[in-house]
Symmetry: none
Subunit: 225 residues, 2 copies
């Protein structure tokens, strides 16, 4: 699930980003309210976590705009304001839920979970499957033909990317960018090395090879030959 966080306090934002990423959500963050709408339209997240007090453009305004534009996403509003009238304002503006700061992380997770269940467009896919290969995002366990494989964190990250869109070709640059966060450095060949390591664990012990090389283009994962 893709979540956009709109929050100006860096400390809070950091906390949210780290925590939710660790939970396996795909997170983007912006601090400026006026950037919210363009970002929403471009990124099309499933859920936006909206701070109520923002510089340049207030959270309530943004929420109303989202609703008037009929954008297909959930809004979870965060606020330090706990008064009745504040919460009513928030819900009136079209927020799906309203959470008062400070809050327990548990509570936030529960609300996100609840919202994503209500959401017909979101697919909180907690398991990826390709052929006999299976990745459980919850336990981070990888199995093939019911046999447990033990992968390292980076290996897992690469595999997750490949499994997220089977058949699709990922260039080295793309893999480097999403897994390592590097955008320029074609001097390295970590990607090749990790593909090698993945193959050793995921393909070699089995009859069919899932990880395919497309010379000059990139790699892809597929259970077809």
């Amino acid at each position: 699930m893709h979540i956009l966080i709109v929050e100006d306090e860096k400390k809070v934002a950091d906390f949210l980003v780290r925590g939710l990423r660790a939970e396996g959500y795909f997170i983007d963050w912006i601090a400026d309210g006026s950037e919210a709408l363009p970002a929403l339209i471009e990124q099309k997240p499933d859920l936006v976590i909206l701070d109520r007090m923002l510089p340049r453009m207030d959270g309530l305004q943004i929420c109303k705009l989202i609703r008037s534009q009929q954008l297909p996403l959930r809004v979870l509003m965060l606020s330090a304001l706990a008064e009745v009238s504040d919460r009513v304002d928030g819900l009136r503006a079209g927020a799906d839920d309203y959470l008062v700061k400070p809050f327990a992380f548990e509570e936030l997770l529960a609300r996100i979970e609840a919202l994503s269940k209500r959401n017909p467009f979101a697919s909180p896919e907690r398991r990826l499957v390709v052929g006999t290969l299976e990745l459980n995002l919850e336990t981070m366990q990888v199995k093939r033909e019911e046999k447990l494989l033990s992968l390292t964190a980076k290996e897992l990250a690469v595999l997750e990317l490949l499994m997220s869109s089977p058949q699709k070709v990922f260039s080295r640059e793309r893999i480097l960018a999403t897994v390592w966060g590097i955008n320029e450095d074609p001097l390295t060949n970590v990607v090749d090395v990790y593909i090698r390591r993945l193959r050793k664990k995921v393909d070699s012990p089995f009859a069919q090879d899932y990880i395919k090389t497309l010379r000059g283009i990139g790699y892809c994962l597929s259970d077809e030959s």
Copy 2:
């Protein structure tokens, strides 16, 4: 839908009873906490709105009793206490939702609506078991192979989290967030230290290790190897 209200302040109770009846709900009301359980068993409502501070028997207690009896109903807790720890206490006791007074009637309606839609019963287990390890949430006793272990409060909190979803991987961030709260800095390594202390008590004296490390990802509890 049948709702039982347990609330000692007559003004608040009146407000609720009138408002909810007008919305078409079937409402009963009692003011005394000690009457709550008999009333629940007799009337079998779908939802109970429970004030936290009650004469004779506290709302938290009632909630715990409801859960331990496995009564098939939703609990919406009302309270003037807004602190994180209070809310967590409420949810820990098994409440399905927690609303802070004063609240807007709209909000209450929304929450009731949400609760009545929610799937079967997510009523929290009163005992967590993983392999030979057992945590009794009533007494907060921890046993392994029938031997009683003595854990400190923080150790317990960490273990409870891990046991709440065996197999599931919990990142340090996640553990930090739920056990220590939002204000802690991420530079600390308390989590590691507590994992160590837990292992010493929970794993070391026994043949098999339950607490697993997933390097670069987090920790998890599992009775598999």
